[in-house]
């Protein structure tokens, strides 16, 4: 079995998680990654969805952030004001997952508009929980598929703050959290450079060439001096992930 690029993104993200993590989980790749981690090497990982479900253990992936499955399998469910006050702002989350329509080289994200705010070419969904997830979680993992319209040179709108215009900008705003520490894509893994905070490819997924990654990025992308290869997906990782997706597909089809 060989992982597809999207599967590889999910698996690479899952590997970064441990039993000690408390994750603020978003829908899509983050949800798949967190639950894959939970079903493989991190059975005690704590998963929180912004709908209020604390320590949830869904058997299928939710389509929305508030599917009944999340509540049914949660330790308990709190109100949304409490979720944002006591749990997110409370500083109790170690890892927040974010994605977006667009990202720049300092891992700032745009999910608001393409074009001017008042007369947008494309009106995107908006920030939702992202602005405060980005500032309140211990660190942020971003999962996004590469492409030059997504990895852009300049964002039309900063929906959530990564590293601003470079190292030190978070601290200057009084932020004590680390911000984005990993960007996990379908082709590679990036990290902010320790000196400049600019995103730098540290690991290429198996079979991916530098040129392919460069083509998927709208700015001249840096590569780490010691570039490694992401270990290939194991049989177990792939089997558990595919099983999870298959269960999910059956459940969502049956929910009508």
């Amino acid at each position: 079995m060989t992982a597809t690029p999207t599967e590889m993104m999910t698996i690479a993200a899952a590997r970064l998680l441990s039993d000690d993590d408390v994750c603020f989980v978003g829908i899509g790749a983050p949800s798949a990654a967190c639950n894959l981690a939970r079903l493989t090497h991190a059975p005690k990982i704590t998963l929180i969805y912004e709908s209020g479900t604390l320590s949830t253990r869904p058997s299928v992936l939710p389509l929305s952030i508030g599917d009944g499955e999340l509540c049914d399998t949660a330790l308990t469910t709190v109100s949304v004001p409490e979720m944002f006050r006591y749990w997110l702002q409370g500083g109790r989350i170690t890892i927040g997952f974010l994605g977006g329509a667009q990202i720049d080289r300092f891992a700032n994200l745009n999910t608001t508009v393409v074009g001017p705010y008042d007369a947008p070419k494309v009106r995107l969904p908006g920030g939702g929980g992202a602005p405060e997830i980005a500032s309140s979680c211990g660190q942020i993992f971003i999962t996004m598929a590469m492409g030059s319209r997504a990895f852009v040179d300049a964002l039309p709108f900063v929906t959530s703050f990564g590293h601003g215009k470079g190292k030190g900008d978070r601290a200057a705003l009084g932020l004590k959290t680390k911000g984005p520490t990993k960007v996990i894509t379908d082709l590679c893994v990036m990290e902010p450079d320790p000196e400049t905070a600019e995103l730098t490819v540290v690991s290429l997924h198996q079979g991916v060439a530098r040129a392919q990654v460069e083509a998927g990025c709208g700015w001249p992308l840096r590569f780490a001096a010691r570039l490694s290869e992401t270990p290939a997906a194991t049989e177990t990782e792939l089997a558990v992930l595919r099983d999870l997706h298959a269960r999910t597909k059956r459940a969502h089809g049956a929910a009508a």
């Binding site: 829908i27 899509g28 912004e50 709908s51 209020g52 479900t53 939710p62 389509l63 929305s64 952030i65 508030g66 599917d67 009944g68 999340l70 509540c71 049914d72 469910t77 109100s79 949304v80 004001p81 979720m83 944002f84 006050r85 997110l88 702002q89 608001t112 705010y117 008042d118 947008p120 070419k121 494309v122 009106r123 995107l124 969904p125 908006g126 920030g127 939702g128 929980g129 992202a130 602005p131 405060e132 500032s135 309140s136 709108f157 900063v158 929906t159 959530s160 703050f161 601003g164 900008d169 978070r170 705003l173 009084g174 932020l175 969502h252 089809g253 929910a255 009508a256």
Partner: protein, 285 residues
């Protein structure tokens, strides 16, 4: 004191043209039946308030009920865009839609402040982002102890709140369970409220001492609308119709298919249209 009413009477009682309304429900317990009834009653110039606009507001916006949207995330969860919302913002169809945009944290705090009868809420947010530049309602206060500058948002005090809940008892107390979102806050923050419920019971019977309950004297009107959250759901009664959320993407993408669907499934229906979702769902729950 609360009154038991029909869905039509309830929507008529709490909504008037030009008023602000929060139809809340965080994925769970979204008052879809009430939204359809508002469309049938031809409500106009509404300020729609909702953290996650969802299909119910996509439909109301597409049918021309809204002149303004106060929101924090306007998408079809796990599916993609709300096409009617986008068409209104990008193309002004059926007419322009003013936006007041926040983050979830801001809106959740704003409802909380409204319920607490405060004029504003304080939270640590909006650091380094562009939203404050386009939303003058986002301001700040300085902590009188530490000097830290914190974000503020005006309290939400809607003219009306409309929510869906699992049960009311004969006295008119309302019980919610599961993902309770900001519904309690929305009702407590609003001037008047309509609650549609799956069931009206004699009394709630044995329950957790800390169950989430809105006392009768905090609610304006209750309507018995089983299945009234469809395609959202009521924990214990139904499951979220994820397939309909997926199907909506295609229905709403074009104006023609949207209008045809609304005509058939909303305009030509009556307040009882959601009962079939209750039957089907209850069996599946």
């Amino acid at each position: 004191m609360v009154e038991f009413v029909s869905l039509g009477e309830g929507v008529e009682a709490v909504l008037s043209d030009g008023c602000s309304v929060a139809m809340e429900g965080f994925t769970h317990l979204i008052p879809h039946a009430a939204g359809h009834e508002a469309i049938r009653q031809g409500k106009k110039r509404l300020t729609l308030i909702r953290m996650t606009p969802d299909l119910v507001y996509d439909q109301m916006i597409g049918m021309g009920c809204a002149e303004k949207l106060v929101f924090s995330w306007g998408g079809n969860p796990g599916v993609g865009s709300l096409h009617r919302f986008r068409d209104a913002v990008e193309n002004g169809w059926p007419h322009p839609l003013a936006l007041e945009e926040h983050s979830h944290a801001a809106m959740a705090n704003a409802y909380e402040a409204g319920a607490a009868n405060l004029p504003f809420a304080v939270f640590r947010g909006y650091k380094g982002v562009d939203l404050p530049a386009v939303n003058p309602a986002i301001r700040s206060v300085t902590c009188p102890y530490t000097g830290e500058v914190l974000a503020t948002v005006p309290a939400l005090r809607p003219d009306a709140a409309i929510i869906h809940a699992q049960k009311a008892d004969r006295e008119g107390n309302v019980l919610l369970e599961g993902i309770v979102g900001v519904q309690k806050e929305a009702v407590l923050a609003a001037k008047r409220s309509l609650v549609t419920v799956e069931e009206i019971v004699e009394d709630f019977g044995p329950r957790n001492a800390n169950a989430v309950i809105l006392p009768a004297w905090t609610v304006t009107a209750i309507a018995h609308v089983p299945g009234g959250a469809y395609p959202s759901y009521a924990q214990g009664y139904s499951k979220r119709a994820n397939d309909f959320y997926i199907a909506w993407d295609k229905i709403a993408r074009e104006r023609e298919t949207f209008l045809a669907w609304m005509k058939e499934h909303v305009l030509e229906q009556g307040p009882e249209a959601f009962a079939r979702h209750a039957g089907a769902k209850r069996a599946a729950a």
